[in-house]
Symmetry: C2
Subunit: 240 residues, 2 copies
């Protein structure tokens, strides 16, 4: 769930991508928020006596606090790192274009040669391309290094979106345990609600990425069920 | 921590990227594994009485089971989704090149025009580029859609690497609680060990991404400390 591509295409698709970036953040935060606290609470429900059912939601809320900070801040720092990395590479490219222009021109030529263009067109393209240093460096950044200019405001917003979605997602599987006095009863309601949410959520997530939505929804639900089942088994094994 | 760029550059850097992909997986798995179980155990250490200290590691191990499955399987499915998405786009591009070749040629021309090439060179490049349909589609996939061909074996390996790293990372902050009878004593040792690990880990992570390693190490450590502090505060607040 963490390797969703958040690179930003250029030109006319930009507006469209802004809203899909927010959706990506929500998808990342919610999917972890639904899955991990659900599985943790499920695990504890099998290991905690009736007298200590409050420990399920103490542990669950502690996990939500920890997870939302780790994911939110983690996302923020990943964004910051991306910007730092871009800027340091940008500086290096400007420097190289100044210091070793022939080598850099050769790299541009290799790009066009890789596209299958004839030597003649390659040379003409390199010649026109490298007249404007700014365009030249932009080109190297994008097509030699594969780096898109990151949006500086994005890191902060992304952190907030992911962290907040994690909290919302995490409260859903936890809420039934507030209203029951028996862990296993809580687990039954929690599992029913959470697996439904994971299905709906997996459905829309798959639509976003252009995969068969029903198959995607089932996949996401199965991950949650497996994680919860495994946590339950681990907790039961230790406790007995 | 989840937005590390795992796109695969082409050509001579490929071999280099293979090992850095494994490192990326380990970095993703370990950073979450160190942070979240650490913070959860820290949170519980402030809320659990001496008689129930075993609940700290029951909860911790349940969290590790849930988290490693959610992250590992999540990573696997993200990889699978990427492959499905690539293949469906590839099919569409082949179809479009066949059905609306003029519109697709115009898109190729726009790409070269965006590079700042003259109309003459644009036309020649488009002409040469579109002679070979396979190269043409490859070009559209890469430069119009920004999609690199994903490695099918990667999804499975990635899942295993991330899941396993999460388990290893998670056992580190949990281990002190096995040897003490008092939650707060366990927390002290756990915090000392984990913050050191997060520092070392943040140092190498930053080296990988080309950021100042000391600053990066401190950042990673601070996230862990904040997450643990917040989980501790939440658990204490509810319990009292």
């Amino acid at each position: 769930m963490h390797q969703i591509d958040t690179s930003i295409p250029h030109g006319h698709t930009e507006q469209h991508m802004r809203s899909s970036e927010i959706l990506t953040d929500i998808v990342i935060g919610m999917s972890d928020g639904l899955t991990v606290p659900f599985a943790l609470a499920a695990g504890l429900s099998g290991a905690v006596s009736e007298a200590h059912i409050n420990l399920i939601w103490i542990a669950g809320l502690a996990e939500i606090a920890a997870g939302s900070i780790a994911m939110g801040l983690g996302g923020y720092l990943a964004g910051k790192t991306e910007i730092d990395h871009y800027n340091s590479e940008l500086k290096r490219e400007y420097d190289e274009v100044e210091r070793v222009p022939d080598r850099e021109k050769e790299e541009v030529r290799e790009f066009f040669s890789g596209l299958g263009l004839s030597r003649e067109v390659q040379d003409q393209a390199v010649d026109e391309m490298t007249r404007d240093k700014e365009k030249w460096v932009d080109f190297m950044m994008k097509y030699e290094l594969g780096l898109d200019k990151p949006d500086p405001r994005r890191a902060r917003k992304s952190a907030f979106n992911i962290g907040f979605s994690y909290v919302v997602g995490g409260l859903i599987p936890l809420s039934p345990y507030f209203f029951v006095s028996d862990g296993i009863a809580g687990l039954r309601i929690s599992a029913a609600i959470t697996l439904c949410c994971l299905f709906v959520f997996g459905y829309f997530k798959s639509k976003l990425t252009g995969v068969n939505p029903i198959a995607g929804a089932i996949r996401v639900m199965v991950i949650g069920a497996l994680a919860a089942g495994c946590a339950f088994a681990v907790a039961r094994l230790i406790q007995s």
